[in-house]
């Protein structure tokens, strides 16, 4: 059984990554090939030719079909093999699995699980990532660590003070208590850290132009397994949102991560920073992108080391958790719950009645004979 929940949506790519070219990427141990058809539809197929397993992502696209780069088996966008060299009749079983995908908020989401359980209404939203009122910079870093380590990392931002000192970490982050909430029905973890009077990290002083100390709010919303949102509010000290009307005296930075398992020991670390100010300022975009990438790479370096440590440790190793871990513990528990739910058989969709599953024989019914 995989360590991630099945029957869930995962981010497979940014929409802009999927175009005419064949994109190969492994998602939850499934090697996929993705491309965009002439109609603009995103296709995701298993990245293995049925003939001798050659990766279709290293093959050739002809119109809306893929022609295998080894012996020329040709697949349509549904994964059906429609031609093979000199072969008159193509076996009906000659097909590669196709995956359910859905584009939303600038992401290509893929359903990992039973296709008939895929419901696009279950995809968590981040509409600002695809909204002209925000400018977004983004990237993706390969992480040689299991996805759970990135979840731990992002749910406890007190590490900013130590791992990202001089970037987004200031003393107040580690010093401010947090409030943690879990919505048990919606499966959301919420961790909030409101710093009333904090040093302004250079990332924010340079991008917002605020000089002096700030009121800094960090409100995390984690929608396990894949989507992590950090609502960051930066304002001069003492400036709180008005009781009504827009919160226009503050700067809003929406940080997002998509945490997608690649294998049991590697993860796609998609990161985005959206802002509602200086929308057309290219210099600020470049600065935010470079700075944030530096911060992400600091995490990647640390987590790559941790993966080696975790793989090498004895089974009996005991962690110690303190108050800063309240949110991380909640995330782990929800993930475990989703793993169990994802492995369970599909819930019955037929109307539930009080009738017993096996109708009791009525006396007098003829007994069927074999």
């Amino acid at each position: 059984m995989p360590s991630w929940p099945l029957n869930q949506w995962y981010v497979a790519a940014y929409s802009q990554e999927v175009g005419d070219d064949l994109l190969g990427r492994t998602i939850c141990d499934e090697p996929l090939v993705m491309y965009r058809t002439s109609d603009g539809e995103v296709v995701a197929l298993a990245d293995r030719c049925v003939h001798r397993r050659f990766p279709l992502s290293m093959s050739n696209r002809v119109d809306d079909m893929i022609v295998c780069g080894y012996h020329g088996f040709t697949y349509d966008k549904g994964g059906q093999c429609v031609a093979a060299p000199a072969q008159k009749r193509i076996p009906r079983t000659a097909r590669v699995p196709s995956f359910v995908v859905h584009e939303l908020d600038g992401f290509v989401w893929v359903w990992i699980g039973d296709a008939d359980r895929a419901d696009t209404a279950l995809i968590p939203r981040a509409p600002w990532l695809d909204d002209p009122r925000y400018t977004t910079v983004r990237g993706m870093e390969p992480l040689k660590a299991r996805y759970g380590l990135l979840v731990d990392n992002l749910l406890d931002l007190s590490h900013e003070t130590y791992l990202h000192g001089g970037y987004i970490g200031t003393p107040e982050v580690a010093e401010t208590p947090i409030t943690t909430e879990v919505d048990e029905e919606a499966n959301v973890v919420y961790v909030s850290r409101h710093m009333a009077d904090a040093e302004c990290p250079s990332l924010y002083s340079k991008s917002t132009g605020i000089e002096g100390r700030i009121t800094r709010w960090q409100d995390i919303e984690y929608h396990p397994p894949c989507l992590y949102l950090l609502h960051s509010r930066i304002a001069p000290v003492g400036v709180l949102p008005p009781a009504d009307g827009p919160d226009d005296q503050a700067f809003h930075v929406e940080v997002a991560y998509a945490i997608t398992p690649e294998t049991e020991h590697s993860t796609h670390d998609f990161w985005m920073v959206a802002r509602d100010f200086a929308l057309d300022d290219q210099e600020i975009s470049t600065f935010l992108a470079e700075n944030n990438r530096t911060v992400v790479l600091q995490d990647v370096t640390a987590l790559d080391v941790l993966e080696v440590v975790v793989e090498g440790e004895k089974d009996s190793y005991q962690e110690l958790s303190i108050n800063i871990d309240t949110g991380g513990l909640a995330a782990r528990r929800l993930l475990k719950k989703l793993v169990d739910e994802g492995n369970a058989p599909a819930p019955q969709t037929t109307a539930t009645t009080d009738a017993p599953a096996v109708p009791a024989p009525t006396s007098g019914d003829p007994v069927p004979t074999a």
Binding site: P177, T179, E181, Y190, S321, T326, A330
Partner: protein, 54 residues
């Protein structure tokens, strides 16, 4: 803040090591260990005598 009807909330008391946990049923509890705190919350309704109505 989450607004659902089954939200657990843990607040870290300012300038202390104390956590206060609030179950969605209205019961609350203080602890200094987050693991023990989650155990207390998730044991609902066993440890929540007055709020076990739901």
């Amino acid at each position: 803040m989450l607004g659902g009807t089954s939200v657990y909330r843990i607040v870290w008391k300012l300038n202390t090591d104390v956590l206060i946990g609030y179950c969605w049923c209205g019961e609350s509890h203080e602890d200094i260990d987050p693991i023990a705190m989650w155990e207390w919350l998730l044991a609902h309704p066993d440890t929540h005598p007055t709020g076990g109505a739901r």
